[in-house]
């Protein structure tokens, strides 16, 4: 787990947005002048209340704004030093980006195996290479191995979240965006998801994590941004944010009770 807040020494950041503004037509601007950075190898979280613009930031990074009739109105998005501001979603995936969408969004009518194969679309795996990539992903999420022929729509919420994560890993991403991976899951499953995120990061993938569960997110992040009304309200290391009493009270849950220890059954 990387809790090192200093900029990574090697190479450009996994993600850098500079002055990004985005909105959805008549609905006005959802995100204004947003600059954030995910250094390579780190977990960075994006926190804030509902409607703060977290998902819009994700879409601006992944190129999915257009699908929601949204638009980037200013700023720049770079992945590993490469400008992808106007690039299509597929080009960004090829550049090393993968994402777990809010609400998991597995393909319900496709089998688990087919969901996983679709995650490797840009890699053009052939025969053995596909199985190899899948086995690699399944070492991290072994439970899915027994469910390969099951239709994804019949999985439990927790299993669907695991599948969404596994599917995203199939393209061997260098940067993973995760939008509310703990949403609607039982506390025990949230612990599992957290451990998986840590393992993914330890294997070398940088992560941008959007969470309502601020405590969980901060416990594994090296840096965090607090969004409010589409702007960065505060940013810093988890320690710094937790020490600021106003922020801690308003965004991280009243009081600064210690983070739940890993593996604890709450």
């Amino acid at each position: 787990m990387s809790r090192d807040a200093s900029p990574a020494s090697d190479g450009p950041p996994a993600l850098r947005t500079t002055g990004v503004s985005a909105g959805y037509g008549a609905a006005g601007t959802a995100v204004t002048d947003l600059s954030l950075r995910v250094p390579q190898g780190q977990v960075v979280s994006l926190l804030g209340p509902n409607g703060a613009g977290k998902t819009t930031v994700m879409r601006a990074v992944s190129g999915l704004l257009g699908l929601h009739r949204g638009r980037l109105t200013g700023g720049r998005v770079e992945l590993f030093g490469k400008d992808v501001t106007g690039a299509r979603a597929s080009q960004r995936v090829r550049a090393g980006l993968a994402q777990c969408l809010e609400g998991r969004m597995v393909f319900p009518g496709l089998s688990v195996a087919e969901n996983l194969a679709s995650g490797g679309h840009v890699r053009r795996y052939r025969g053995g290479a596909l199985t190899e990539a899948r086995d690699e992903v399944l070492t991290l999420l072994p439970r899915l191995g027994d469910l390969l022929d099951r239709k994804a729509g019949y999985l439990s919420g927790g299993e669907q979240q695991m599948l969404a994560i596994a599917r995203a890993l199939m393209s061997r991403p260098k940067l993973l965006l995760m939008d509310e991976p703990s949403l609607g899951l039982a506390p025990r499953i949230v612990e599992q998801v957290r451990d998986i995120i840590v393992s993914i990061n330890e294997a070398g993938t940088s992560i941008l994590l959007v969470e309502q569960n601020a405590r969980m997110a901060l416990s594994i992040s090296g840096y965090a941004y607090l969004l409010e009304g589409g702007r960065v309200y505060a940013e810093g290391t988890p320690e710094a944010l937790e020490q600021d009493n106003d922020i801690a009270a308003a965004y991280l849950g009243a009081g600064t009770a210690p983070v739940t220890p890993r593996g604890a059954d709450s």
Binding site: L101, E114, H121, A168
Partner: protein
Amino acid sequence: MTLFLQLGFQGIALGLVYGLIALGFVIMFKGSHTFNFAHGQFVAIGAYVVLVLLPRMPYVLAFIGAVAITVGLALVVERLLIRGLIGRSVTVVVLATLGISTMLHNAVLMVWGVGSHDSVGPVGAGTTKVGSVVLPNSALATVAVSVVVLAAVAWFFQRTRHGLALRATASSQEAALAQGIDVGRMFALSWALAAFLAVTASIFLASFPRVVSPSIGDLALIAIPAIVIGGMDSLMGAVVGGLVVGLTQVLGSNYLSDIGGGRLHEVLPYVLMLLVLLVRPYGLFGSRSIERV
């Protein structure tokens, strides 16, 4: 019994042709969320292009030429119109395809007139005897080619990377985009595939009344009850629905010829369609959606 077997075979052959057309409808519907009323005109244009090319080249080349031209036309319609309407209401898109249908229909009338032309089927009028059953060669060719084409389509969807990507796109455009699947390209692919199926159907459809006429485009709309019966979002349902409609028409035209001036068989598919809509609105094979939150 012999008559029943002969009619049954004819019904299956006609049903498979409807199945090919219906399958195209369903592929476009799933792939690009568009119910394309102009699909019947793709069938008509396919038949007319074969008609034009046939005197100038071997059959296979004429067919390939017709596929190329019809697929090209489908791609232009998809790119210029359908993709521009992404996110608009279903009604807008459907009305747009109705407009295109009328335009294409009138283009056919302008170029080729209202008259009928000889069939463009790949085989002549001969028959083959199997035991006591006499089967038209055109029906045999229809069944053989349709089965091969349907198997190839099934293989494409189940076994290839692009087939999987198309199914993923049909399931969720957002999730497909997130996997790096180029959804715009998948729209185009689904339209191209549908147009190919339309041309394949057209050469056989033209051998049932044994003529090519502008009404072939309307004839193709019989695929609509087939889709409703089978289920709007089921590829398998499209083929089964096509078979049901084909058999109903052929058997009905013979056994019910005393009722309603012999036209009852033309109504029967729609009666079946309404019955299915009342009892099982998502069709025999359609899904009520198995999503779970």
